[in-house]
């Protein structure tokens, strides 16, 4: 299965760069790739607390406790997008300033010494969340606020807040529906922004949020079933609020036991917070996921673990690292047909408006067959072009865009 994924990506790169020889080298040299069992090369986490207000302290503590875990297991701040709708550590009502505790009696301060919040306060909106997921952020957005994942990324998405059947409330003013969320994940898949995705939500009726998912390679967990409330935990009289929600509290307890070399797998995660502890019934969904949850390590999502195997055998990597290939022999025709079209040639000529239209048209052209990468790989691998392949796309954009440019130019009002 892994090889299959691997082939996909290899074939893809191959086709674009047009090096048929290199392709065979990749596939043949399987040895060096076996260390990556899940097929991902990098890990990302998007952790969101959607609630404001002091009495929602627990939601911030939930998110920070997951943040603490993923950071401890090796995902760097640059790969974590942390969204906190309110600042509990500096809230005036906090009797222990600059702390957010997850346990009674101040046993664990999840705020820690080093928290990098990427989206804070009123920046935590449905729009920003979806933009982060789909990557459609304004050009001025700094890298730290972007989810710069690729199709080799395993992404952990954790949400907490107040929700209901089919929605999750953001701040006090808007909500995201389960369908919107499912569509966002589908866009991510189409834009090749993830390899596998683990979705965890701790909110009332949390299971309703993942029931509409339809994109591949998704695994989802929720703290409660439809019709159930997720309950809070750890009432603390000194701070005067509930410190955490039950599900995340036990999730944190579980994660605290996980270390980078841990062999704990997803089945263990599913057992976190049984009904006897949670009162609500945690749910999970694995039907969209390709692998057996038992073979998926917790660290595949919560950590950024690079597998290192010490071997005394010599492994030949020479062919794959081979520098530029002699193109001269292939002929001019081929090179010309398979280079990238300049993505935004319009900007050089005319206004930004025209450029935007062009840009959108590019995305609108995605054929449905691209949604399943597996199907499209075979023809790609064989070197033929199907209607949905990338070069075709570029050519179509070319054909669409360039002749109409003068016309667009005339119609566009001056801004």
């Amino acid at each position: 299965m892994d090889y299959y994924n691997l082939m996909t990506i290899c074939a893809f790169i191959n086709l674009l760069v047009s090096i048929p020889q290199a392709y065979s080298n990749y596939v043949e040299d399987k040895q060096s790739w076996t260390v990556f069992s899940s097929g991902h090369t990098n890990n990302w986490a998007v952790l969101v607390c959607t609630s404001r207000f002091w009495f929602n302290y627990r939601h911030v503590a939930n998110t920070l406790s997951v943040y603490r875990s993923v950071k401890r297991l090796g995902i760097p701040d640059s790969h974590i997008v942390l969204m906190l709708a309110d600042d509990m550590a500096c809230n005036y009502r906090n009797p222990k300033p600059a702390t957010v505790f997850s346990h009674k009696n101040m046993e664990l301060n999840v705020y820690g010494d080093d928290v990098e919040v990427d989206y804070r306060g009123y920046e935590v909106t449905v729009e920003n969340f979806l933009r982060v997921l789909t990557g459609r952020l304004p050009p001025s957005t700094p890298r730290s606020k972007r989810l710069l994942s690729d199709d080799r990324s395993n992404i952990l998405i954790y949400l907490t807040g107040h929700g209901g059947n089919g929605f999750l409330k953001f701040q006090d003013s808007e909500e995201i529906s389960n369908m919107e969320l499912a569509d966002a994940f589908e866009q991510m898949w189409q834009k090749r922004r993830y390899n596998e995705l683990l979705f965890i939500i701790d909110t009332c009726q949390g299971a309703s949020m993942y029931e509409r998912f339809y994109s591949p390679n998704l695994m989802a967990l929720a703290s409660s079933q439809v019709g159930e409330d997720s309950l809070s935990h750890q009432p603390d009289l000194a701070i005067g609020v509930h410190l955490m929600d039950k599900y995340t509290f036990y999730l944190l307890e579980f994660l605290e036991e996980v270390h980078p070399a841990s062999q704990a797998n997803m089945n263990d995660l599913f057992k976190v917070c049984p009904q006897s502890q949670c009162v609500s019934t945690p749910g999970h969904r694995t039907d969209l996921f390709q692998r057996d949850p038992g073979s998926v390590l917790i660290t595949d999502f919560f950590g950024s673990v690079r597998k290192v195997e010490i071997t005394k055998d010599t492994i030949h990597l020479t062919s794959s690292v081979k520098p530029p290939i002699q193109r001269s022999g292939s002929g001019d025709m081929q090179i010309e047909s398979l280079t990238y079209v300049d993505q935004l040639p319009v900007a050089e000529i005319i206004h930004q408006v025209t450029a935007l239209i062009y840009y959108d048209a590019d995305f609108a052209c995605y054929p449905p067959s691209l949604t399943d990468r597996k199907e499209s790989t075979a023809p790609l691998a064989s070197g033929k072009e199907t209607s949905g392949s990338w070069p075709e796309m570029f050519r179509r954009a070319n054909a669409l865009g360039l002749p109409t440019l003068p016309a667009l130019h005339h119609k566009t009002p001056k801004i």
Partner: protein
Amino acid sequence: MGLLSDPNRRKALTSLLTRLNTPICVVCYLAGIVWFMGLAFEPFTLRTYMSENAMGSTMVEERFSSGERALGLAKEFDAHKRKAGGMPVEWLVKSMQARGLEVFTQSFSRKLPFPDENKERYMVRGTNVYGILRAPRAPRTEALVITAPCSPGHSNNQAVGLLLALAQYFRNQIYWAKDIIFLVNEHDLIGTQAWLEGYHHTNITGMEYSPLQGRAGSIQAALSLELSSDVITSLDLILEGLNGQLPNLDLANLFYAFCQKLGVLCTIQGKLQRNDWDTAEGYTHAAQTMMLMVLKQACGRSWGDHGLFLRYHIEAASIRGINSFRHYKMDATTTGRLLEGMIRKLNNLLERLHQSYFFYLLPSLSRFVSIGYYMPAFGLLAVILLLRALDLWVHLGSPALAAVDGVTEAEQPSSPGVLTVLTPVVISHLTGVALYLLPVHLQEMAVEHFPVSETEAVVLTAIAIYTAGLALPHNTQRLLSGEGTEQGWKVLKLTALLYLAVLLGCTALINFSLGFILAVTLVPITASITPHMPKVLCALAMVLLSPAFSILYCVFIYQELVEAPVGLGEGWMLFLSVISQGILDHALYGSLVYPLLALFIYPCWLMFWNILFWN
């Protein structure tokens, strides 16, 4: 006429309503009374619950422990109060400053329209002292108020002592998101009024006061303390404010929740809650509690220092310590902890209390009747007036029904009718204006001519004008339009009925209790009055159900309910003092019950009086 309405069906409906008018009215009246009495029955009421998320639970660790210090401060305050012969301003300023507050004073003076004999004051001059505890980490945009009145004699010293001890304790905490204002006001409500007007830069009642030198943010909630003993057996919550305004029900819920948590006995209207709602005694108890609330609310005065805050949309309540003969007593530390818990929860507020009800009646602290449940009781009474008006309208219209197109014709004979109606309306209202203006303005003249005090003069003048209104020559319209016709009184009664319906409806929307009490007494006689009834008997009934007698009955019922029944003579004295208090409340704080009764209800009642003597 409308094409969509079926004249036949409408005619059938009106004929049914006119034929069955009297029985329907009787049923409505009885149903209204029964509905109202049913409100106190526990299965018909709702259990109170905290609606405000920000205050959610009683999850607070109460750490206040300086109850003893509070009592020490109370003794010190008492000594200084006696030495200064009033508010010990300097000592208070010093001791508040010593506790790290920003302290300011405000002086005020007020001349009452006539001497207040209950509280023995006429020219009032006093000083308010208040200290602001600034929230250490928050901007100064919101504030809470704790107030304790500095009362004459030995009363309320413990409240001031506890206030100072709380200030000292609160000063050492860092979790305040709102400034806390500790206010010690002199001359109870007058001091509060001066302070509130100074704080909000308003001057509603013509009080003289010095401007406030220090302000905090907008006040979100206020608690007024009344403690006169070192130990208490229970705490009483007082909610009724000026003009029958009530604070948000969540404030009562908060108090009740903390009483439950700390095991403090709590009462409302001085009545403990009973659990045996299914017995006759249990029901009677709940009904009495609710009736007391209705009576207190109806009289429109502020029953504690909190009452004036409500005008500024500040949720406020008074907490009064009661020391009865019960064995189990609570010390000042427990009371302090209860206040700490409440203030700490109020500190968590993110916006003004608004989630719960503003219109409610409480048969006990854990049960409430919302506006949706009690309004039908009033509606059933008010609909009688409309039904009678409809009946009259149909009767008036039936002779002219022959000529539907002769609208102009029909108006020709009714033009003297306008005068017929207008004259008594104007005369009644002029009497009302006299009742409103003359008592206060004529007091000097009255004092010169009669051997009475100013207060008595005012009250007796009011009663005299009220009585004189009955004897006025009400048949003036005869001079203008000749003999009073059958048509004439019907038009007048129609007008008066609709007028009364509008008046009572508006009153009930603002102050349900007042509207309901007036409706109960006024509706039966006004609905049934005609000139063809036996004059003496009807006149007697009308007088006995007039607004003034309603007040008298309320005085007796109130005394009965607070378990201090009075005889006729005492009751009469109380009645007089209630009238003088009503006039004073209007002049001092802007209570609207007196002008409402004098300018609207009484003239309206006079119009019906006119009908009785129509000829």
